[in-house]
């Protein structure tokens, strides 16, 4: 149940891994699509938190090309519906997320990423 809404907020938390540690890269993923309630106000409020490029890239990697490369100025309904789908309806069920910097792999099993660190990785 990692969705892109949380993937977009998640950086690597291994000790000393403080730069170039976002976004985590998906590998060997299986996804499921599940409907969620459309809430335009939530989406608008959430947009300032997003790293747009990371979101577009991750969505494309998961097979969704509905988002424009540049954040549009006008937030029309079509755009918000696509954003809704990308953020909240695509569930990554299996696979791994790899830190681009330290290469730590966070495995995803049954939709749950394992964020536990080894002893030498704890800050």
């Amino acid at each position: 149940m990692v969705r892109l809404i949380t993937h977009n907020l998640l950086a690597c938390h291994v000790k000393g891994c403080n730069s170039n540690n976002f976004p985590l890269e998906f590998k060997d993923v299986q996804i499921e699509l599940r409907e969620a309630e459309f809430n335009p106000d939530f989406l608008k409020g959430f947009m300032p938190k997003l790293e747009w490029k990371a979101l577009v890239d991750a969505a494309r990697q998961l097979g969704d090309t509905s988002l424009p490369l540049e954040l549009p100025e006008m937030l029309d309904d079509d755009f918000l519906k696509n954003l809704h789908h990308v953020l909240l309806e695509i569930h990554v069920e299996e696979g791994t997320m790899t830190c681009p910097n330290c290469k730590h792999e966070y495995p995803i099993l049954n939709g749950i990423p394992n964020m536990l660190l080894a002893e030498h990785e704890i800050g």
Binding site: M1, V2, R3, I5, T6, L9, L10, A11, C12, H13, N21, F22, V29, Q30, I31, E32, L33, R34, E35, A36, N39, D41, F42, G45, F46, K49, E51, Q61, L62, G63, D64, T65, L88, E89, E93, L109, N110, G111, I112, P113, N114, M115, L116, L117, A118, E119, I122, G123
Partner: protein, 284 residues
């Protein structure tokens, strides 16, 4: 029996059997629900702005179900695989993570509009986990520092917890302060042995519109009760015997969406696994 956190590490204590027992116990459901409602009240979120919340030590989702019900979008972290497995079975809406909060978070600055934690942080003071770990103060510092940065400014984090001494309260609040939080302790029903509840109510950057520490509840807890029991009955009505939610999304719907994807010419649409739309079981 001594308190759970004195008996075994959390992910051992909350093994398969205890996770089920804990979640199915209706009295426990009621208590966790009541405390979650109260924590939300103390969070004092701006009205009409749908919030994104973190449930710290979300367990099997008893607190998260209240967040779903109240329309919040949330993510939850917990160290016990068996608890998370029950949360999957109960089909809570939040994104779940297997994580030891004593190791800290990796969420980007300002990710969450608020955080709640119901009956969890006493664990940070007690039994070790079976994962690599360090001393309780070190774990508390790491936890509060990374949480503070993951929260938006201004916002709040509210923790209901079970301290076993004033020293523990002292240690926890001083670590929170060191991490940059304001706020403090709120005690509900301080004069009732049974109803007394302790909340740590932390502020980032003043904590929002009302900067004062909220007052604890006084008087007679039973009076509030009737209403909430009603709410619980409503909640349970939506579940079948095994605790699963009724009207779960049909496999059909998912397949339809995948077909739609393919039609729209999207490559790399993941293959339909035989697990598509099935109840997911966690095997860690």
């Amino acid at each position: 029996m001594s308190r759970p956190e004195l008996q075994a590490p959390p992910e051992i204590y909350y093994g398969d059997t205890e996770a089920k027992k804990y979640t199915q116990n209706t009295r426990n459901q009621q208590i966790q629900a009541d405390m979650t409602y109260r924590a939300l009240e103390l969070l004092n979120l701006p009205p009409d702005e749908p919030a994104f919340l973190l449930d710290i030590g979300c367990g099997s989702g008893l607190s998260g179900e209240i967040l779903d019900e109240e329309g919040y979008i949330w993510a939850g972290v917990d160290i016990a695989p068996s608890m998370l497995e029950v949360a999957l079975e109960r089909e809570v809406e939040g994104d779940l993570f297997l994580q030891d909060i004593g190791q800290g978070f990796g969420f980007r600055p300002g990710s969450f509009d608020g955080a709640i934690s119901i009956s969890v942080i006493q664990w940070l003071l007690n039994a070790e986990t079976s994962h690599p770990t360090s001393s309780p103060p070190h774990r508390l510092n790491r936890f509060f520092t990374t949480l503070h940065s993951a929260l938006r400014n201004p916002s709040r984090a509210v923790f209901q917890f079970y301290p076993s001494s004033d020293d523990q309260i002292q240690l926890i609040t001083s670590c929170a302060q060191k991490a940059g939080f304001g706020g403090g302790i709120v005690v509900d029903y301080p004069n009732s042995n049974k109803a007394k509840k302790i909340f740590l109510c932390l502020f980032v950057g003043g904590g929002g519109p009302q900067q004062q520490l909220p007052k604890g509840l006084e008087g007679d807890e039973e009076v509030d009760r009737g209403v909430k029991f009603e709410r619980r009955r409503d909640r349970e009505r939506g579940r079948d015997k095994s605790g699963k939610r009724k009207n779960v999304k049909a496999r059909d719907w998912i397949l339809k969406k995948k077909e739609l994807y393919r039609k729209r010419g999207k490559e790399d649409v993941p293959r339909d696994s035989k697990f598509t739309g099935r109840k997911r079981r966690a095997v860690f």
